[in-house]
């Protein structure tokens, strides 16, 4: 599964590799996995991230694996969104890390989105580009 994820992420990157040197990675994960993920990413040298509490659902309509339940309703489940901007060459390893850290094999593990970044600016100093990451 992970291999597939990385492979398809790769093919997406191919398109942009020449144009964008920075990428944003957005991961929607289960809340209890946040701490573990943060520490592992830090050990990779990722020094900044933004975290938001969000709610969402996917194909399984937000049903946890509980007994009974109202199958004709779609529910929001609390999740955490982690956003990081990295240099393009780091994307693969970051994705791998996120998957390893957060995967439980159960429904609701979440998704990772990769987007190109046009520019990054540090407000205090005015630095731009990769230096500002």
């Amino acid at each position: 599964m992970a291999r597939q994820a990385i492979q398809s992420a790769d093919s997406c990157h191919e398109q942009y590799k020449g144009e964008f040197t920075m990428k944003k990675i957005e991961a929607i994960i289960k809340p209890f996995k946040l701490d573990e993920l943060k520490e592992t990413l830090q050990s990779l040298g990722i020094t900044g991230m933004t975290v938001t509490e969000v709610r969402g659902f996917g194909r399984q309509k937000g049903h946890k694996e509980i007994y009974r339940g109202a199958e004709y309703q779609v529910d929001f489940i609390p999740k955490v969104k982690v956003e990081i901007v990295v240099k393009a060459e780091l994307v693969d390893s970051v994705i791998q890390t996120i998957i390893t850290c957060t995967k439980t094999g159960k429904i609701g593990d979440g998704k990772i989105f990769v987007m190109p970044i046009e520019n990054v600016i540090r407000i205090r100093t005015g630095e731009q580009g990769e230096e500002a990451i």
């Binding site: 194909r59 399984q60 309509k61 049903h63 694996e65 509980i66 007994y67 009974r68 339940g69 109202a70 199958e71 004709y72 159960k106 429904i107």
Partner: protein, 793 residues
């Protein structure tokens, strides 16, 4: 009438859906055998809802109930679910599930109506036979679950709610196959009702004939196939036939263009016909079964013709109906006058008789009754039922060509038959609300007859007004109208002001100008042409009254200075305006200082504002005014513009300000002044403002063709340019600007809007005041205006 073609389609549809369902079954069987479920005899896997009915479309939900006899440890449940559900999800099925004991299922069904109905279609897939037995037995015994009375009450409530939600006209243009009127939910509801009341297992006799049943199954099969193809085409779970899919769907369904219809129109014709079949059945059955049991079997409210005991209209002696078929028309007359619905049995009987070739129209009496029905309070329901049962086509064979006919352009919302019926009921409403106009019309038979059949030519291709006039003459002769009436009818249909039936084409607010336009129509019926030459003095009462009022007021000391100006007022302006407003406008007009002076009156109504702008005429004025409004982001709902004979222009706009509590009306007046005087170059401003708005508007635009016509017949003195298109910011300005830049002068304009469709009519002349009769010039104008609709340069 089921053609071979539609029977095939129905079979196709149900066949495809069953195939998919069997595939899902096979997968589940396999997964079950490989799972640890097998070892225990504790689980039973049951399909519910659509999957239970074996009616699966590619992106339908797969409703699965995991039944157990008694509660199991969560861990065990989770493991089992993962073995079965994850592969299903991964294969792309939208599986939704629940795990319940048999007891819990029944209890939950008592509280959740949707669960309850989905259980009615429960189908065992695999698993423990004993759990299955237990489930069937418990379900059969449970009093709450089998309480038919409560069921029908709940069903009626839910159906009403659903119909309200999906009854908007937007859903007529883009029907929702599942939840819309006459869609699959309605069909399912019919099946549930029949099951619940014991019709399925022959406990009671069916109120539907076997022909009725066949027709319904055929209609349902058609819907299933359409839905199946829609899911396939759209690649997702969408049950609404968005415009963008309609053409492709019609091809997929095997439709080809006909002599007068496109493939899409033919597809939609079948669609709407079948939807009406389903809809009529459900309405009738719900009412029928809602009546207390005793009412259905013991008659105590009947006369020799009709039996109303069940609350529905039934024939007292249905077996004798073929001897006195006029009773059928009388039943509809009763419906039209006093309300009510036909019982399912009555409907069946009527259809049977028609099929057997009985003539309903003995001694033209049916025609007499028809005219009465048209002018009754509840005409709409009666006429709709007449169409659905086939009685309408029997009486008026020409009606077949407009049955369920969709006109595929951006403006028409309803099918032609429904539109015609609405026109009649609108006319009735007008009678109730604006009696004055009606007093003018001496021959209501003529009026209602013409209104109902004014679009009869639409089934025969364009131009339909001329063709319609021909057809209606022969129909009217059959109805026994005399020569004078015949010529009136033909005149009305040939010249029916398209704007006059605008409300019935798609609902929306009934605007002042439409009412005034309709008054003009009545006046013309009585031979008054619009520039005011009164041929028939007897019919000029409202106009005369208004003039009288004006003269009186200008006879007073206060109004004396205005009396010299009365000659400047056009007849249509006087007719359309309140005398108070007229006096005020006159006073304002006199006080204008020079050609750049402009006055604006603001009047607030509950949900919109009325702006009256008075100024001197100049080329391109209307375009300038609408441009300023666009710039200020003020939304024009409707407009009436009049040019007086002394070149005073009185433009009345009904508008919506860009936000609530908008207080910048003074600034607006200033802006008008500055733009008129040239102090502000508003063209530049407008172009830059428009750039921002363009993208937003683009996403909201529909895919229908705009309508653009030049009409030299309706008015003796003006060429009429008619434009109907999707609204966007600045559209009116662009259209009017292109008209002005063609060298034309706009003397009168009427605008109105239904949701986002703008409809506009411009009365124009060229620079020397003549109509534009040269075909080449007309084409140039059409091209220029057409371009202006599409883009902002």
């Amino acid at each position: 009438m089921m053609s071979r073609k539609t029977q095939d389609t129905a079979a196709d549809g149900l066949g495809l859906a069953r195939e998919l369902s069997l595939r899902a079954d096979r997968i589940i069987h396999k997964l079950y055998s490989a799972s640890h479920f097998q070892t225990s005899d504790l689980w039973c896997i049951t399909a519910l809802g659509g999957y239970g009915r074996q009616e699966l479309c590619p992106h339908s939900d797969l409703d699965i109930l995991f039944l157990i006899e008694k509660k199991l440890p969560n861990k065990e449940i989770e493991e089992g679910l993962r073995e079965l559900l994850y592969p299903l999800w991964d294969k792309g099925f939208n599986a939704s599930y629940s795990v319940r004991t048999v007891k819990e299922t029944i209890v939950d069904a008592g509280k959740d109506f949707f669960l309850r109905t989905s259980l009615m279609d429960a189908r065992h897939i695999c698993g423990s036979a004993s759990v299955r037995e237990s489930f069937s037995k418990t379900l059969a015994r449970d009093k709450t679950f089998n309480n038919a009375k409560r069921f029908i009450a709940d069903l009626v409530a839910h159906t009403a709610k659903r119909h309200k939600k999906y009854g908007d006209t937007a859903y007529f243009l883009e029907p929702n196959i599942k939840d819309g009127h006459g869609g699959l939910r309605d069909y399912q509801s019919i099946m549930w009702v029949l099951k619940m009341f014991g019709v399925e297992n022959n406990q009671i006799r069916s109120p539907l004939s076997s022909d009725d049943r066949d027709e319904l199954v055929d209609a349902a099969g058609f819907m299933v196939k359409t839905r199946f193809l829609l899911h396939t085409r759209s690649g997702r779970k969408t049950d609404q036939m968005h415009m963008e899919f309609q053409e492709q769907l019609s091809t997929d369904m095997g439709y080809e263009p006909g002599p007068t219809d496109t493939a899409v129109e033919m597809f939609l014709k079948d669609f709407h016909t079948k939807a009406l079949t389903i809809r009529s059945s459900i309405d009738s059955l719900l009412q029928y079964f809602s009546q207390p049991r005793s009412f259905r079997f013991f008659s105590f409210r009947k006369d020799k013709e009709f039996d109303l005991s069940s609350g529905l209209i039934d024939f007292t002696f249905p077996e004798h109906l073929h001897k006195d078929p006029l009773l059928i028309m009388k039943a509809f007359e009763r419906m039209a006058k006093r309300g009510g619905t036909l019982s399912p049995m009555a409907r069946s009987r009527i259809k049977e008789l028609l099929k057997a070739g009985t003539d309903l129209n003995t001694d033209r009496l049916a025609y007499r009754i028809m005219l009465k029905i048209l002018q009754s309070r509840n005409a709409q329901k009666a006429l709709t039922d007449m169409v659905d049962t086939g009685v309408m086509e029997h009486l008026i064979p020409e009606f077949a060509s407009v049955r369920a006919k969709t006109i595929f352009d951006v403006y028409h919302t309803f099918t032609v038959d429904i539109h015609s019926i609405h026109t009649v009921s609108e006319l009735y409403r007008l009678h109730q609300e604006e009696d004055e106009a009606f007093r003018l019309c001496r021959d209501r038979d003529v009026l209602f007859f013409s209104a109902f059949l004014h679009d009869i030519g639409k089934g025969y291709g364009r131009p339909h007004a001329e063709k319609g006039a021909e057809i209606i003459r022969s129909i009217a002769e059959r109805y026994g109208f005399d020569e004078e009436q015949l010529s009136k009818i033909v005149f009305l249909v040939r010249n029916h002001l398209v704007m006059a039936d605008t409300k019935a084409t798609g609902p929306g607010a009934w605007n002042e100008w439409k009412a005034s336009l309709l008054r003009e129509l009545y006046l013309r019926t009585s031979n008054i042409i619009e520039k005011g030459i009164l041929r028939d003095r007897k019919n000029s009462t409202p106009l005369e009254e208004k003039w009288g009022e004006l003269v009186k007021r200008s006879g007073t000391p206060d109004g004396a200075h205005l009396s010299g100006r009365l000659w400047a007022l056009p007849q249509t302006y006087v007719l359309a305006s309140d005398p108070n407003d007229i006096m005020r406008h006159l006073a304002t007009s006199i006080s204008l200082k020079g050609p750049d002076d402009i006055r604006m009156e603001v009047m607030h109504r509950r949900n919109h504002t009325i702006l009256s702008i008075i100024t001197r005429d100049r080329p391109g004025l209307f375009s300038l005014l609408t441009g300023v409004l666009a710039l200020s982001r003020i939304d024009i709902i409707s407009a009436q513009i009049f040019t007086w004979y002394d070149s005073t222009v009185v433009d009345t706009f009904r508008v919506l300000p860009p936000w609530q509590d908008y207080q910048e009306w003074d600034k607006l007046e200033e802006l008008f002044k500055d733009c008129l005087s040239g102090k502000i170059d508003f063209e530049t401003k407008l172009t830059s403002a428009q750039k921002l708005k363009n993208d937003e508007d683009k996403s909201m635009r529909g895919t229908g063709r705009p309508v653009l016509l030049i009409d030299n017949e309706t008015s003796d003195f003006f060429t009429i340019i008619e434009v109907r298109a999707h609204k966007r910011t600045g559209l009116i300005h662009d259209i009017s600007r292109s008209i002005s830049s063609s060298g034309l002068e706009i003397h009168r304009a009427f605008l109105s809007r239904n949701s986002d469709l703008l409809s506009s009519v411009f009365y124009v002349v060229d620079s020397v005041g003549e109509k534009i009769l040269d075909a080449h010039r007309q084409q140039e104008i059409l091209t220029l205006v057409g371009t202006s609709i599409d883009s902002r340069a």
